[in-house]
């Protein structure tokens, strides 16, 4: 089965997941993002690479943050950006997902940035465009269900490389709700592809998927044990609807076992960095002193996110 995001020549035509993506393509995105990261510091923050192209932000699930970073990235590339917040109501109006896509293609869309609550929705759109011969239209997955969030994974990789230079000697711990996390899945695929020798996931059994070892990670339920000797600690966001019920009893108990505190962070290497995809729940998964502390690279992640998204869009557009 051909990787659905590559064309016959092996070039990236859609970015749907980091799974199965060759290391060269991941590194090319990271390398391309380096000069874009410095554009932000210039007085004129624009480059004309996507001038005349139309990027549609197709958000079937609300997300102001991610949509904004994609919008800024596309605008810095001089693209025209159209935001569509479709929500879940479009299907109740009778229009199917693919009807919506066909209509927007008829409006000469060049790129779709898609967020959807269902795993696989961007794959469905990409397969549809390929089948219809619309190979000039590109799809970027901006998060689908629990499946993937590849631009977040890439910006996490960019951040890790920025601070740690090399992946081949690192120990990375991902802490929290791995079961529902597309961020965790994308980062795991990216890290293993780039040769990270030890990736750990840490969380209670209710929030760790049963076959997660098959992704090439080690499972720890004791956070102290899992953090020992880590170079990178990635904290996951705990969605508010999961803070109580049958998965977890309370935020207080969660913080006690899996919240990142200065005391627990001391078990990691002295130069370990702390990451979080945002938005953070202070006092639930991370203590403010750590989130705002000197080891935290959470805000640089946001800055790098724009550069990485610029890199992805420019590569897809062949610019």
């Amino acid at each position: 089965m051909r990787n659905p995001q590559l064309n016959a020549a092996g070039d990236l035509t859609h970015l749907l997941t980091l799974e199965g993506l060759p290391a060269e393509i991941i590194l090319r995105v990271l390398d391309t993002a380096v000069p874009f990261a410095s554009i932000a510091e210039r007085e004129v923050k624009k480059v004309p690479l996507l001038r005349g192209r139309s990027v549609f932000n197709l958000f079937f699930e609300n997300s102001t943050r991610t949509r904004t970073t994609f919008e800024i990235a596309a605008k810095r590339l001089s693209a025209d950006v159209i935001n569509l917040n479709i929500g879940v109501s479009s299907t109740s109006k009778g229009e199917t997902l693919l009807d919506t896509v066909d209509n927007l293609v008829a409006m000469n869309a060049d790129m779709f940035v898609v967020r959807h609550s269902q795993s696989g929705a961007p794959h469905l759109i990409a397969a549809h465009l390929n089948r219809m011969g619309r190979t000039h239209v590109h799809v970027v997955n901006a998060g689908d269900g629990r499946h993937a969030h590849p631009t977040q994974g890439l910006l996490d990789l960019f951040t890790i490389r920025h601070y740690k230079k090399e992946f081949r000697e690192l120990t990375v711990a991902i802490v929290g709700d791995v079961l529902h996390s597309r961020v965790a899945r994308s980062l795991i695929h990216g890290l293993t592809t780039l040769g990270t020798p030890e990736v750990r996931v840490i969380g209670p059994k209710t929030l760790i998927p049963s076959a997660v070892q098959s992704l090439g990670v080690r499972v720890h339920h004791d956070m102290r044990e899992g953090l020992a000797g880590c170079d990178v600690v990635v904290m996951l966001r705990l969605q508010s609807e999961r803070m109580r019920g049958a998965l977890l009893p309370s935020t207080g108990e969660y913080f006690k076992h899996y919240g990142l505190t200065g005391e627990k962070l001391a078990l990691a290497k002295p130069d370990a960095i702390v990451m979080h995809p945002g938005p953070m729940n202070r006092g639930v998964e991370i203590e403010s002193a750590v989130a705002d502390g000197e080891r935290s690279v959470i805000l640089p992640q946001v800055t790098f996110g724009i550069a990485v998204r610029m890199a992805v869009m420019s590569i897809l557009a062949g610019a």
């Binding site: 799974e19 795993s119 696989g120 689908d144 269900g145 499946h147 049963s210 076959a211």
Partner: protein, 424 residues
Amino acid sequence: MKIEIDHGRVIDPQHGLDRVTSLYVAEGMVAAIGGAPSGWRADRVIDARGMVVCPGLVDLSARLREPGFEYKATLESEMQAAVAGGVTSLACPPDTDPPLDEPGLVQMLKHRARSLNQAHVYPIGALTVGLQGIELTEMGELAEAGCVAFSQAEAPLSDTGVLLRAMQYAATFGHRVWLRPQDAYLAKGGVAHEGEVATRLGLPAIPPTAETIALASILTLVRSTGVRLHICRLSTAEGVAMVRAAKQEGLPLTCDVAIHHLHLCDVDIGWFDAQCRLVPPLRGTRDRAALRAGLADGTIDLACSDHTPVDDDSKQVPFGEAEPGATGLELLLPLTLKWAKEDGVALPDALARITTRPAAVLGSDAGHLDVGAPADICIFDPDQYWRVEPAALKSQGRNTPFIGLEVAGKVRTTIVAGHVVHEG
């Protein structure tokens, strides 16, 4: 109408008949095998050289989508699909809209089906009103109207107290109960087998325990009520082992598997292929191997198509939102033959699993070819390959994971009650 079927390989699994001979049909029955009855004069002679002549197929799960889902399929289209697949008797589950929980609905369905003069239709009545799992249906009235068994179809019955009473009540009157074992809570929200594929793709999972826990409850209640129970659509290796042990213990059980689960597993989902969105979910390779072995050793009595026509719009959506199901009536024969060939099961033994054995579970006189048996006959070419394509299917449901597959076994002629109803 007198029909003479000449020189075919006549296979009747029930009576151990397997030889090249001729078969004579008159007055809707098998009149003779081998030599013609005295004074025989055929209205029609079918040359069956190189063909297999066997009892018409009996499919224990075929959704005809009437009443309520006529935009997905109609009785006309699906009855044509049945006979095109060599199926001459089929049982339809009660998950229509409204569900088959009233005698009037059952009578209407039987009447509509009879007027089409094709396959025999055996409705399965709803076990509880509206399949809600709360109140029992009038099983006596429904049985009189033509229901041969009672089931919850895919609707969960989470209240074990209701399940116990439904079994006790059915056992009182000798009604058969058909159940697919699935724990309502463990399966809730799930769309794929809990394993590597669901983990990778981020699909909400259904653990194998959803089947085994429900199966344990069902088996325990069968033990205490003595109800005649048929287990539908087994999907896990552990489930096969539990049924094997229960049968050894002597419980009054029969059991089936859907043809999809004999050939596919969760890996076939690939990148979110909605054709593989099925109920129960496609499970692991170990489970598939156990199901195949279970069908071969008799733990699983029979295979069914679990025919579920789904319209394209309901599949052209993300995997988790796709409607489960696939068309199957026309694939029951070729996919059973494929299993038999791959696992070295003799042709008569394979055919028993789609003729004689399901007929016994239905309590029907069909499924064999003894003199005097109803002349429900399937004549097929075992060596002809054909490609599964939407255009090659009569069913209105064109969705199946097997699109593009070359399969052996092409139905040539289907005879129901002594009338030729399909020629292909």
